[in-house]
Amino acid sequence: MLELKELCFKKDNKMILNHINLTLEDNKFYCITGPNGSGKSTLAKIIMGLNKPTSGHILYNGKDITNLSIDKRANLGIGFAFQTPVTFKGLTIYDILKIATKKELTKKEACAILSKVGLCAKEYIDRELNKSLSGGELKRIEIATIIAKNPHISIFDEPEAGIDLWSFKYLTDIFKEFNVEKKGITIVISHQERIFLLADEIILLENGTIKEKGTKESLKKYLNTTCPKGGKNESNR
């Protein structure tokens, strides 16, 4: 269980997160949504330790992890898929998957992980994780690192950002499978209704506060009328 208590984050005198109180339970898929600038990504980064809260506490299974470093949180069982996947000069996809699993990983096992995200493993396994890969490929590999790490809390920061529609369809399928297989807590920051539909609960953020938290049915009035990105939602097209 993950508990956020009175969490605040201030930057340049602006309150990005304003007294967030939230409890996330095991074996549930959460989707955090809201307009641009509502604090979604900041909240996700604070859980991973990439940002430090100005005040408040984060409790993981009752233990206060507010002041723990990124790696200590990772080793406790928190994983984070970056919105913009990080590239490395010289590290291969196999290297990064080995680091993620923290154990001897055979090429066959690594290939099985890549196949889960729809990549033809043989073509990719020894490729360098650099900018020669497309946005969609990098996104899938980023998700593959989370599958390889198999954390108790998996956080995905806007997995749909920067990928084409075809890849997005595939991405939704990956999350569908992830939802069935995965134990623990899954948190996806997203603007996409197809992702909302997979969630057990949706958390709607606005101006750094939680406007609503509930099932997709209970939040229907928000999700169907206002697209957080400004346009109409897919269901209205």
Partner: protein
């Protein structure tokens, strides 16, 4: 050879095999040599060094030319000339390992010249390594490359710590359709200094050169990367200098590209900076602590 010799040899020429062609030089003298019907090695008469002749049409030849120095205070200049016959295809593994336990200046200046005949192919791997308690190990390799029509050379040089002072100079001239690829990896530590200089002249139509330099300067070390490419005709050049700086490390990159023909296409890219924060964050989010993450990034970068 004692254990120190074997260890040095293993660092610079790990794949050395009794069945292959080699010349092992230790403390200023050749101590072992083997040739075959395709490759001959002849000691120079007027100065220290070798003439290595590879016959025309030689396929998949492997030649090891390692140098080991265990005598503190030894200073030498060695001239090796590689004459690669038409259509020959060879791998040349050279390098210098210095082990010095005393604080006397120990230095090896290797001057290697490559003469590639038409359509010859060479992969040249050079490794530099220094260890021991003593200080003041200097290595100054100079490489001259003369490439005839349609010849290809791939040069790979590595120097990871242990050498106090290096000035590395590579000069090359390319005729038509010749291709030169150079990859250089350097890590300097402590107060080490390394300077590298590439001077390439593209004389023949469709000649191309690709230089990739990846370097890490840590502690108080200093590196200078200088490249000067001249395009005299329709040709292509790409120079890429990437450096990571740590602590008080300093890196200076001096690019010079000179197009003397309307169809010359010359590119130079240089990037110097500390390890990117997002790279550290990603690896830390996979469970590595900060210093483990740094090590993985640097190891990968110099791989």
């Amino acid at each position: 050879m004692n254990q120190t010799d074997k260890n040095l040899l293993n660092e610079i020429s790990p794949t050395l095999n009794e069945a292959e062609v080699y010349n092992i030089r230790k403390n200023g003298e050749s101590i072992a040599r083997q040739v075959n019907s395709y490759v001959s090695i002849i000691p120079k008469e007027d100065k220290s060094g070798l003439d290595i002749y590879v016959k025309e049409n030689t396929l998949f030849g492997i030649i090891h030319i390692p140098v080991i120095i265990t005598k503190s205070g030894l200073k030498e200049t060695v001239y090796n000339d590689f004459h690669i016959g038409k259509n020959a295809n060879v791998i040349i593994l050279a390098g210098c390992g210095i082990h010095s336990d005393e604080d006397k200046m120990t230095a090896h200046d290797g001057i290697h010249r490559f003469f590639l005949e038409e359509n010859a192919k060479v992969k040249y791997v050079e490794k530099h390594f220094g260890n021991g308690k003593g200080k003041k190990r200097n290595l100054n390799p100079t490489t001259e490359i003369i490439m005839k029509k349609s010849s290809t050379m791939n040069m790979d040089s590595t120097q990871i710590k242990g050498v106090d002072n290096t000035i590395r100079i590579t000069n090359a001239t390319l005729e038509e359709n010749a291709t030169l690829e150079i990859s250089e990896k350097i890590l300097t530590s402590g107060n080490e200094q390394a300077k590298t200089e590439f001077n390439v002249t593209l004389n023949g139509e469709n000649a191309s050169v690709h230089v990739t330099s990846r370097s890490v300067a840590e502690n108080n070390s200093f590196q200078e990367f200088k490249s000067s490419i001249i395009g005299n005709t329709k040709c292509y050049a790409h120079v890429e200098c990437d450096a990571i700086i740590k602590d008080n490390g300093m890196v200076k990159a001096i690019p010079e590209i000179y197009a003397k023909n309307i169809d010359a296409n010359l590119i130079h890219e240089a990037a110097i900076g500390k390890i990117a924060g997002d790279e550290l964050n990603k690896l830390m989010s996979l469970g590595l602590n900060e210093s483990e993450a740094e090590e993985v990034i640097i190891k990968g970068f110099l791989k």
